[in-house]
């Protein structure tokens, strides 16, 4: 028999414990409901909710809503990256611009993007354009700030060396600063991703079905009727799973794109998740 490597054994134990935790949670919630400690009208049984969760996968309308949410997320996040990273590079590498725009940024950033839902829905009208605008406004800050932080963290010697070899400032940004800042930017994108999901569902929920398909609209539909709590919870479970899957997708993309960085840091412990 070949001995199982310790790392693999530890990972298997982690999986086992994690699974035990999830199952235990579900069983305890079910028992609390069955024995009447928590009335079913307050919190539906785990089994009821899971049953609805399975049924939802057979509903074309729910699947269309799920797809629409992913679509708005992807569009919003793509635009956020396209605007946020260059803006972060500009603010992070030109000190004058950073000082001059700091006051503007510090006043704009704290405005909760949910607060703009009503204004933007009046201005642009409901629909994908509205959702994407809100997502970009809310999600751009983590990308912007992390890009700036990443540029601050670049080894000055590496930059100077590159410059000494006669490369221009722009080349130095491309060859030294951006690759070095990439892990910071990736963290910013992960934070932006979770903001994007919240905003897309929140905007859909507040504006309702007129905003087009989406998980927010689905939950708004359901919550207008009484006794739909199990369905709402089932949809919430899928929303949580969607959040996890999209987060994992970003981590996976990061690992693929920044493979060199993970190799470089391999000795420094797990840098993922």
């Amino acid at each position: 028999m070949t001995p199982v490597p310790a790392a693999r054994k530890a990972r298997a134990a982690r999986w086992r414990r994690g699974l035990t935790g999830v199952i235990a949670f579900g069983v305890i919630a079910e028992l609390l409901g069955v024995t009447g400690v928590i009335p079913r009208s307050v919190l539906p049984l785990t089994s009821t909710v899971l049953g609805h969760a399975v049924t939802l996968l057979g509903s074309g309308r729910f699947l269309a809503d799920l797809a629409a949410t992913v679509e708005a997320w992807a569009a919003g996040l793509a635009i956020t990256i396209v605007i946020g990273v260059p803006a972060g590079v500009l603010l992070g590498s030109v000190p004058g611009v950073r000082v001059a725009t700091r006051a503007v940024v510090e006043f704009l950033r704290p405005i909760p993007s949910v607060a703009l839902i009503l204004l933007v829905s009046l201005w642009l009208g409901p629909g994908l354009r509205m959702s994407v605008t809100l997502i970009v406004y809310g999600a751009i800050w983590p990308v912007l700030y992390n890009t700036m932080a990443g540029l601050d963290d670049v080894d000055p010697v590496a930059k100077e060396t590159n410059r000494a070899f006669g490369f221009s400032a722009l080349d130095t940004i491309r060859m030294v600063s951006l690759p070095s800042a990439a892990p910071f930017i990736a963290t910013g994108v992960r934070l932006a991703s979770s903001v994007a999901i919240i905003l897309d569902i929140g905007a859909g929920y507040i504006t309702g079905r007129v905003n087009g398909p989406g998980l927010g609209a689905f939950i708004a539909d359901q919550s207008s009727g009484a006794g739909n709590l199990p369905v709402i919870l089932a949809a919430t479970i899928w929303a949580g799973i969607l959040g996890l899957v999209l987060d994992r997708a970003i981590v996976y993309a990061e690992r693929r794109l920044l493979r060199w960085n993970h190799l470089r840091l391999a000795g420094a412990g797990d840098t993922g998740s």
């Binding site: 982690r14 414990r17 994690g18 035990t20 935790g21 999830v22 235990a24 949670f25 307050v42 919190l43 000082v99 001059a100 725009t101 700091r102 006051a103 503007v104 006043f107 704290p110 405005i111 909760p112 993007s113 949910v114 607060a115 839902i117 009503l118 204004l119 009046l122 201005w123 809310g138 800050w141 983590p142 700030y145 992390n146 700036m148 932080a149 601050d152 963290d153 963290t187 910013g188 934070l191 979770s194 999901i197 919240i198 569902i201 929140g202 929920y205 507040i206 927010g216 939950i219 359901q222 919550s223 709402i232 919870l233 949809a235 919430t236 929303a239 949580g240 799973i241 959040g243 996890l244």
Partner: protein, 267 residues
């Protein structure tokens, strides 16, 4: 030298001031209903909230009726998230087995877009403070909890062994080693939770409330009063700015000793 400093200080505000002036000029020329001039917004803000009697520190009844409840709910939600999240996070961070059992549930809790739970909280708590505070607390606990776990788990093992060797009691180890080591991470969690708390405060007030900034916002939209809508947006920006400034102040006070307390923004 000091002239340079004054010039630097001024340059910080130039873009903001020029931007507001341009907006003012553009808006007075275009009369767009969606982007009223800043002077109109400020004037309305004054009349709405800050033209009250001196005995109420110039707050109007509208301000005490809508701004204060929102602030109170935000702080109450954050306080509950902190009181539960930090001790639980430290306990889980120091126990590898416990955190492994709970990890998938915690990750799921963080990934859960808390806005989908608003109808659930509405059913559980009825409209009002309870429902809003529950939404804020439930949504903001995850960044605090997960960052505290991370901070408590990554305390330097050599330091822990040293503390044990010096026969520090459990309480001493907790207050003198683990808590201080975890604090920078805890503050990262706070910063994330703070902006989330404002989002959830507005959201829960839009969904179900009979007062608060979000409620006032909804009224303004229903009566197509865009100036008032802008007033609520500006006041939320100011509120967010102030809360962030307070957090920065506390962080400097508490973490001044921390060598690695660089200005890395985690947003």
């Amino acid at each position: 030298m000091s002239v340079m400093r004054v010039a630097r200080e001024l340059s910080r505000w130039v873009v903001l001031v020029v931007g507001v002036l341009l907006w003012q000029l553009w808006a007075s020329g275009h009369h767009s209903p969606f982007f009223p001039p800043p002077s109109t917004i400020l004037d309305r803000m004054y009349h709405l909230w800050f033209s009250g009697p001196a005995s109420h520190v110039f707050f109007t009844a509208n301000a005490t009726g809508n701004l204060l409840p929102s602030i109170w709910r935000t702080l109450a939600g954050l306080a509950i998230a902190t009181v539960i999240g930090v001790p639980l996070g430290i306990a889980l961070g120091r126990s590898r087995a416990a955190s492994e059992y709970l990890e998938p549930l915690l990750q799921f809790g963080r990934a859960l877009p808390v806005v989908t739970l608003a109808p659930v909280f509405l059913a559980l708590f009825k409209i009002g403070n309870q429902m809003e505070i529950a939404t804020i607390a439930f949504g903001t606990i995850w960044p605090i909890l997960l960052n505290t776990i991370d901070g408590a788990a990554s305390v330097d093992p050599v330091q822990v062994e040293t503390a044990t060797a010096f026969r520090l009691t459990r309480a001493q180890r907790l207050t003198q080693l683990i808590l201080p080591s975890a604090l920078p991470k805890i503050f990262t969690g706070f910063r994330l939770s703070l902006s989330l708390a404002l989002i959830l405060m507005v959201f829960s007030e839009l969904v179900g409330s009979s007062n608060g900034i979000g409620y006032e916002m909804l009224n303004a939209q229903n009566s197509f009063d865009l100036v008032e809508l802008w007033c609520t947006i500006v006041v939320l920006g100011i509120l967010g700015y102030l809360l962030n400034a307070i957090l920065n102040g506390v962080q400097r006070l508490v973490l001044g000793w921390h060598r690695g307390a660089r200005q890395v923004e985690a947003v």
